[in-house]
Amino acid sequence: MTIQQVFFLAVAAITLFAAVMVVSTRRIMHAALWLILALFGVAVSFALLETGFFAVVQVVVYIGAIAILIIFAVMLTRQVFLDVGPQLNRGWWIPAVLVAGLYAALVGVLSTWSGFQTQAAALPEAASDLSQFGLALVDVNAYAVPFEVASVLLLGALVGAIFVASDRKGVER
């Protein structure tokens, strides 16, 4: 086992544990904190795959923006937000069986793939060059349209936020 594999297994274990804790912890604030650990684990996985850009963007967007937004929302709603009562209902074993079956099926399908056992090849040096990625985002034949559609979505969100937050003249609040 190479050092990278050891790293990957440790990171994967931590990420999965954190993800389970997100849904099983009773305090919603703790769930947000576990979510940050899980997202960080995903960022480390990206870094292990030598995609530094996605690793860093994962931290910037998901931890720097979304997680902080979630924490703000949680803190501004109720003080502790402690969940009481049972966390599982009687039918909990149905999704458990379904998910286990899906996992087994996915592993079974993937194991028939020829590249399942081979070691990952080292990425070429040019793969860390971001200019190709940047050009693809503005190339009409590549990802220009999805990129622009995403921008329109963000613009809609911005307009909505301003509409919700603004003091409209003449309207009693």
Partner: protein, 407 residues
């Protein structure tokens, strides 16, 4: 390669050969060296803070017509050590009902958010932690981790003042990140790379000359990111109950201060790297150690300037702080990115650095004049009274006819 030319890599290669001769596998030896290097860089960064504290107190003291620390050691140099040992011996008090893990993690994250930046800064042409292709984004991500530390502190302390302080701090940090990130686009645009080493190498002309207005915006946002005067309203000691760190004591409290001093220096370091040419200077390529000296001189010039600002400018109110960011810095930064991109694209085919320099300088100057005019107009509009004062008839003594000479 000799020792005096490039000591860090010399020692690194020597250690690598020693480890390999001991029978350690080469890739394991590489990882041991990386961990060792990261550890040494972190420890040096933290030890450097001890000097920074003395330096800053000394400058602030002189500015306020005092001597500053002058009792312990020559020129008071050992005063921070005395403070450090005092803070080591203090008791850790954990408040009742604190959320222990976030509470204890917060000081660590606050320091880590700053120290992580040191990992990607090119200290010289061959001395750097990692030259990653997304260095600029990495710096922004590290800032996010510092914010997380502040939120953890506010939440974990189980204190409403700490929580409010954390809200205040994070609101300021997130707001000022926006113009900071926008202005960082300009060095990236000039150099065509997100890697800090490439940005430094492509600064044959310092970017502060090509983009003085964005450089100024970056400096202002960096001061705000550190949260120092004039942006220290988030923990204004003289007016409110400190901030997110109110429930901390001993070294945990000290860690927040270490983070602040280190961040202030790192802000100057980043300004030197992005806008002042980093380690570039005469003979810096042949003698990497010389590049390190250049970088340190530039950084200290910027750091001294920020300390001067801290010592002279009064604190902003919260509405002024938000106004400056959202109504001035963010639009100006957006416009500057557009203007710089257009002018740069227009003059680049000419291929003469002098033409680029003049064109970009003129563009910056025009934008600066327009901005100042806007500020002047809005200030005048704010000063104008809502109701014009009516002319009130006032009994006024009639001017007496001058008496003729007494008989």
């Amino acid at each position: 390669m000799t020792f005096w030319n490039d000591p860090v890599n010399f020692i690194g290669q020597w250690l690598q050969s020693v480890l390999v001769s001991w029978g350690v596998a080469p890739d394991v030896a590489q990882i041991i060296l990386l961990v060792l290097g990261a550890g040494i860089l972190g420890v040096l960064g933290l030890v450097w803070v001890i000097f920074l504290i003395w330096y800053e107190r000394k400058i602030i003291g002189r500015m306020q017509d005092r001597l500053g620390p002058n009792r312990v050691g020559p020129w008071g140099l050992f005063q921070p050590f005395a403070d450090m040992f005092k803070i080591f011996t203090k008791e850790y008090i954990t408040p009742d009902g604190a959320d222990v893990v976030p509470y204890n993690l917060a000081p660590v994250l606050a320091v880590a958010g700053t120290l992580m930046i040191w990992g990607v800064i090119p200290f010289a042409s061959t001395i750097f932690g990692a030259d990653i292709s997304v260095g600029v984004l990495f710096i922004i991500a590290a800032g996010a981790i510092g914010e997380l530390g502040i939120l953890f502190a506010g939440w974990g302390s189980n204190n409403k003042y700490a929580l409010l302080g954390a809200f205040r701090s994070v609101a300021q940090l997130i707001s000022y990140e926006i113009p900071m990130v926008i202005t960082l686009l300009i060095p990236v645009m000039f150099s065509g790379s997100l890697s800090l080493q490439t940005i430094v190498q492509s600064q044959s002309l310092w970017y502060v000359l090509l983009a003085p207005v964005p450089a100024l915006i970056f400096l202002i946002t960096q001061i705000a990111e550190v949260g120092r005067a004039p942006f220290d309203l988030i923990e204004a000691e003289s007016e409110i109950v400190a901030g997110f760190n109110i429930e901390y004591s001993g070294l945990k409290f000290g860690m927040f201060f270490v983070a602040e001093f280190l961040h202030a220096f790192t802000a100057a370091l980043l300004f030197a790297v992005f806008f002042l040419g980093g380690w570039r200077g005469p003979f810096a390529e042949q003698f990497p150690l010389l590049g390190f000296v250049y970088l340190w001189i530039k950084t200290f010039a910027v750091y001294w300037f920020t300390v001067m600002i801290r010592g002279t400018v009064p604190r902003f109110r919260i509405d002024q702080m938000m106004d400056i960011n959202w109504k001035m810095l963010t639009p100006l930064a957006l416009v500057m990115v557009l203007v710089t991109a257009v002018v740069h694209a227009l003059v680049r085919p000419i291929g003469s650095p002098v033409v680029s320099l003049v064109a970009l300088l003129v563009a910056n100057l025009v934008m600066l004049v327009i901005t100042l005019q806007f500020i002047r107009n809005s200030a005048r509009a704010r000063r104008r009274p809502m109701v014009a004062p009516s002319t009130v008839v006032v009994a006024r003594p009639e001017p007496q006819p001058t008496q003729s000479n007494p008989e």
